[in-house]
Subunit: 189 residues, 2 copies
DNA sequence: GTAATTTGCCTAAAGGCATTAGGCAGCCGC
DNA sequence: GCGGCTGCCTAATGCCTTTAGGCAAATTAC
């Protein structure tokens, strides 16, 4: 019985690819075993269970996303940073729909705390350094930005903005303009 | 063999309740059969298959949501309308998390076109009548509002804003203020 | 009021995914 | 080259989906 060289690492990466190909919720231990041409039970030496697999894919996606965002943010500030950051999310979701869906996977608090989720929040806050916001407005703005980015990307990927004018790209640009304006003129209480 | 009186209607409604109790993706033909104390196969006279069930729950949720929104909008304009509309989404998602998740279920284009989805878009546009926007800015704004509402509600229900100050309710109010400000000062190209 | 028909729920069966237990063979250190 | 660890296997169970075919209850027809 030839040994294929399964590892948790390789399984996670393959799982992420699988997610991009067939959708995150179609990612299954069985499908993954098929992809390695190996019996299903063999995976259970490397994965606790199906949820473990999904969690690992989610963590991978969060890391990748955070890395890309950190890259994009380097050397930028203000609207430039805002747009770069936003585009990272949108582009990632378009390139890797399955991974993006994975990044939304509900993690238990323990795992979430140890994930790259914190980096995302930190980076969003960093963007706001280019604007003149103090607490608690900064937190409100962080939540707004998170909502817009996630909301837009998820509606877009659900096909919400296709087949209707104007172009989604156009709306995206104008929405980033609008957010920039809003952050520069954040209304007081 | 006593007849229980299954109908597609009743199954759909029970499915929606089940979704709220255990989560939309835990809604299963088997669980529904259990709830009616009936054998699984019996449901297949009333439902084409599992996806059919989920689609029906999704359509139900979209209708309910549109009805509530229409109610909330009646007699309101401007920021008042904006806030009322937004609160409908947020409250619905909190009251009926399973149904709200169902409303996000990906429908095939045919079904989507026949759904209450169009009413939602129309109502969002109606809100913007209280602001001074013309095409294509109106469409950009519709997309922004959809993104914020959906994004915020979905992040909030994923637990994103709990366990951290300030209160989510506070952020929500301030974000609605900010959107109102933005719509009244929408930046030109 | 009963016969005929429709139809609702059933039993049976096959196929898929998740998960666990226990076995054998390949690779490692010696 | 021998013993042990570890990786992948077979086997088995349980739950979910879906289809085919049957019987009895409700409905209609007389």
């Amino acid at each position: 019985m030839a040994r294929v060289g399964l590892t948790t690492e390789r399984l996670t990466r393959a799982g992420a690819e699988l997610a991009d190909e067939v959708g995150f919720d179609q990612v299954t231990v069985s499908a993954l075993a098929r992809r390695f041409d190996v019996k299903v039970a063999s995976l259970y030496s490397h994965l606790k269970n199906s949820q473990d697999l999904k969690t690992r894919i989610a963590l991978l996606a969060l890391e990748e996303l955070a890395d890309r965002a950190a890259d994009a943010l380097a050397g930028r500030a203000g609207k430039d940073a805002l747009a770069a950051f936003a585009n990272v999310y949108r582009d990632y979701a378009r390139e890797h729909p399955g991974r993006y869906a994975a990044a939304q996977f509900r993690l238990d608090p323990q795992t979430a705390a140890a994930s790259a989720g914190g980096r995302h929040a930190q980076m969003t806050r960093a963007i706001l350094r280019g604007y003149d916001l103090t607490e608690p407005d900064q937190t409100h703005a962080v939540r707004l930005l998170g909502s817009v980015f996630h909301g837009y990307v998820s509606l877009e990927s659900a096909g919400g903005f296709s087949h209707s004018a104007p172009d989604s790209q156009e709306s995206w640009s104008r929405i980033l303009d609008a957010l920039d304006t809003l952050l520069r003129n954040w209304p007081g209480p």
